[in-house]
Amino acid sequence: MTKVLVIADIKQGVLKSSTAQLLSKAKAIGAEAAVVAMGDNIGSLVPDLAKAGSSTQYIADDPGLKLFSAGPFASCVVNAAKQFGADLIWFGFSESGKAVAPRVAAQLNAACATDITDVKLQDGGIEVIRPAITNKVLQRVAVPGGQLVAVVRAGAFEATEDVTGSENMVKLPPPAADLKAVIRQIVSEESGEIDLGDAGVVVSVGRGVRDQAGIDLVKGLADDLKAGLGSTRAMVDAGLMPHYKQVGQTGKIVAPSLYMAIGISGAIQHLAGMKGSKVILAVNKDPEAPIFNAADYGIVGDLFEVVPILRQEIKKLRG
């Protein structure tokens, strides 16, 4: 039986939705699934990890794993992969996953594919689908034999209800610290904000909003919808929005049920981060803006006029 090792995606002590999604996909392809989790004080997550669909939970619980460090995290994954005999090793989409996956592949002498959107088992080999060239094409990639380490694109796999697991915890020894790459400080994101990766609705601002007042206007809309507030790179470069809010090829990949692009032109690098959204609404004053080619609903108009009406109409709708 094919064996899939899923790397638990834990942020601030909370298990992210990608973990259950990846475990469900493992079941869907008929594989046995285990999970590996790294962090500090994460023992309480074991029942959740089991319930999400894993038969074994490899747990590296150590104060030294409180802050992310690619080297130690990679050695935990390698250790678990060897013990479990994993054929496939899956990371959910995250910056830490992207940093660790190639290391694990190099250490295991396994193949590596980032950003995969599908996977199939085929005559003893593995086949994956992934976008390339800024999402302009898809590649079908074959791994003829052996292991594959992969980072799964956000929103690619769905969690299903029918998965079952069982608690079977295996403790991993704490890895050695990476003395040549020492994490000194984390300049944190603001806590209490809605995480873009998990948000059901994302409202993003582009250069069309011009300044802080424009951002505040759109933020009002996002707050009404309990939506995550995203941004284009142009706004980040202008110092108007923080890095971690950037949606796109170099930022977050989001796939909410509703994505609102406000004052965003629709550059391919931005589209690469949000094209997977279920429904896209765009507001732009330029009828020729490329964002309209990606949008299900496009409102041609001045956002400073449209956004207040949007808020009003949504309030009306919700009574």
Binding site: K11, F68, S69, A70, E95, S96, K98, A99, A101, P102, A105, A106, C112, A113, T114, D115, E127, I129, I133, T134, K136, V137, Q139, R140, V141, A142, V143, P144, G146, L148, D178, K180, A181, V182, R184, Q185, I186, V187, V201, V236, D237, H243, T250, S257, V279, L281, N293, A294, D296, Y297, G298, I299, V300, G301, E305, V306, I309, L310, E313, L317
Partner: protein, 261 residues
Amino acid sequence: MKILTTVKKVVDVELNMRVKDGAIVQEGMQYVMNAWDENAVETSIQLKENHHAETTMVSIGGGEDTVKIIRRGFAMGIKNAIQIEDAALDGADSFMYAKVLQKVYEKGVYDLVITGKQAQDTDSGQTGIILAEYLGLPCVSNVIAIEVVDDTHIKASRLGDGGTEIVELTLPAVVTVDVAINVPRLPQTRGIMMAKKMPIDVMDLAALGTSTEEIRSVGPKSKIVEFIAPEARKSGRKFEGDAAAITAQVVGLLASETKVL
């Protein structure tokens, strides 16, 4: 400080791509320096200007277009160039490129390797990280700022999941840089003229001190079976006219038609 910067020739992603019979139609394609590698080059040049770093770039690939992007690196301000060209590298993957880069590193011995975070043709984001593994060097990926601490230490800021992570690296080390790290300079006329005459150290695998067998021992581990044109999004509707009326209409549709509100 001796810096090695990697630069890759990639297809210009702004062009329209067409897929036919599982392959990308090559006609009309143009090639440029990978955007993230321009940031890597700019990072090196700034370290040269501010810390007297010695700068070398390496590109693996053949043909005029590879030479063109190397000349661009010269024109921006890089001093030395290595080009690795060998038919044995056809169909190479990240592991093979990383193995070649390992050989290049070992031949020159550098304090810092700067690669792009990802190549715009593969969108993989693997090569620099695998290279660090092969070399046994510390590595930070997705770097948005570098600060030199002393002769053997740098501080690299990376965009992580929880915010900006500041990591102190002991040199030699490998970093992969994001586009947010800087704005690459445009080559000036004088630089472009000088770049035409600067020598490129062109080597095949044998001249590099390795062999087809050694490089092929790590890959390719995977193979692109075919390219597929992505499904176009079902074309949407555009609403023009009175802002109040069209906005109300769209909100209605979000609720009744797609049921996302």
